[in-house]
């Protein structure tokens, strides 16, 4: 219900005292009321649109920054995991297999 979709402002106009505009959602364009964000947006800005109303401006720099931080973190983590996995398999190779010692013949 509180679904809000980010879209890019394509045009802005005055409609009998109400600031309206056309917003582009990945190729689909819709008429949107921009009254609540009129003071802070321009053509090309991203807004979150809910039931035909822009309810907030998307801070592009922040969106980009957060994503980059998270991405970097996950990539580092990925490296950590790979190191851990490599370490685990090494120690496995070093430790004698108890099954093998007892001669059960069970695979690891």
């Amino acid at each position: 219900m509180c679904l809000g979709i980010p879209g890019k402002i394509h045009s802005i106009r005055d409609d009998a005292g109400l600031t309206m505009g056309v917003v582009d959602f990945g190729g689909v364009r819709r008429d949107v009321c921009l009254q609540y964000v009129a003071d802070e947006v321009a053509v090309g800005d991203y807004v979150i649109v809910h039931v035909g109303f822009a309810i907030t401006k998307v801070d592009e720099a922040e969106a980009h920054r957060t994503f980059e931080v998270l991405k970097e973190m996950s990539q580092l983590e990925e490296l950590d995991w790979m190191a851990e996995v490599a370490e685990a398999s090494l120690s496995l190779a070093r430790t004698p297999d108890p099954g093998a010692v007892q001669g059960t013949g069970k695979p690891l």
């Binding site: 219900m1 809000g4 922040e62 998270l70 990539q75």
Partner: protein, 371 residues
């Protein structure tokens, strides 16, 4: 699409899950109060992936689900009138009233139309001056600015055949009611990103301080939700209880002041019934007296309608986290999305519907794997 698909990145999600699990020294209980978040959490299986670290309770975050039966019955009574074109968001059409739903009213010849925006309903009123156009104004704070604008604009333009049936609810009183319940288990909250996009987060600060719970303003994509959960777990592990903002790209401390201002001019706080929960003091909005001419309840004389909710539906227990949907005896048997007993099974954002669809999805996946 920009600012959407990035936050569905699987590598980032995996890394966040690993971090949360590594950080949690005990299993924490968190609640999201947003149907969109519930949908993502259940659909993506985030609750299952985090099971050892966090229990997610799905709170009363779906406005369709908490709309009380009597408001639905009022809608049905108004929609059945011959002079009325009744307009609504699509997800309200199948919410069961005492003896039918809006879709059935339409099948019997009632003029019921789905609109995308309340401004579309207002435009319809201008196109049909000889009929009464009523809009079912449901929703949380996210939707209130749109509904407030439709009423304000109707007065501005002198449109007299337009009115709204208001069933607005607000989030902070619901959080308070949950925390005040004697059997409350919730230790931290994810606050709904788009509610806060409008309202900001100042009103959550006294709640976090009084009840000593972290409240994290959180977005809707899997990465947003996992980051929000991670921030809550970090606070719980370090004994803190603050309001923090995960959804920085869309939410500012003050929200969107012009939207708040118009909501304040058109609506005032009022006691509201929540389906399955009961009355929560000052938890809803109603039109101010100066907009009485646009109040469909007064226009069509349905203000005094009172009804009792059916006992078979345990929506209240689901919405307050006492049970998970599959624990309800009617789940998937007497209550399905095709024949719902209660609203949480109707809306795709309802917890019951989310669990039902996940089970169906998995069953078809398993059948495909076998064949």
């Amino acid at each position: 699409m920009r600012y959407l698909s990035e936050y569905r990145d699987a590598d980032i999600a995996r890394s966040l899950i690993a971090r949360i699990k590594a950080r949690a020294t005990q299993r924490w209980t968190l609640m999201e109060v947003c149907g969109g978040q519930t949908h993502t959490i259940v659909r993506q299986g985030l609750d299952e992936l985090l099971e050892s670290a966090v229990e997610m309770i799905h709170g009363p975050g779906c406005p369709v689900c908490v709309t009380p039966l009597e408001q639905i019955d009022k809608a049905l009574a108004i929609a059945a009138r011959p002079e009325v074109i009744f307009t609504s968001f699509g997800d309200m059409l199948r919410v069961p009233g005492s003896d039918c739903d809006l879709q059935q009213v339409r099948a019997r010849g009632g003029a019921v139309r789905v609109v995308y925006s309340p401004l579309d309903a207002l435009a319809l009123a201008q196109q049909h001056p000889d009929q009464e156009v009523v809009f079912f104004a449901v929703g949380f704070e996210t939707t209130a600015p749109a509904n407030a604008m439709a009423v304000w604009r109707a007065r501005d333009l002198g449109v007299k055949n337009f009115s709204v049936l208001v069933s607005h609810v607000t989030v902070p009183p619901a959080i308070t009611a949950i925390l005040e319940a004697p059997d409350n288990r919730v230790q931290g909250f994810l606050a709904a990103g788009h509610v806060c996009a409008v309202m900001g987060w100042e009103e959550y600060e006294p709640l976090a301080a009084k009840y000593r719970v972290p409240i994290i303003v959180t977005g809707f994509e899997p990465v947003d939700i996992l980051e929000g959960i991670g921030m809550a777990v970090e606070q719980l592990e370090t004994g803190r209880h603050e309001v923090m903002n995960q959804y920085v790209r869309s939410v500012r401390r003050q929200g969107t002041p012009p939207a708040r201002a118009l909501v304040e001019q058109v609506f005032e706080l009022a006691d509201r019934q929540w389906r399955g929960i009961g009355e929560i003091p000052m938890s809803g909005l109603r039109l101010r007296d100066e907009f009485a001419a646009y109040d469909a309840e007064r226009k069509f004389g349905v203000s005094d309608l009172r009804v009792t909710e059916p006992a078979a539906c345990r929506a209240g227990d689901v919405l307050t986290g006492r049970i998970k949907p599959p624990q309800c005896a009617a789940f998937g048997t007497r209550c399905t999305p095709e024949r719902p007993l209660g609203a949480p099974m109707v809306s795709t954002e309802g917890a019951c519907s989310a669990y039902y669809n996940l089970a169906k999805y998995r069953a078809s996946d398993a059948a495909e794997a076998v064949s």
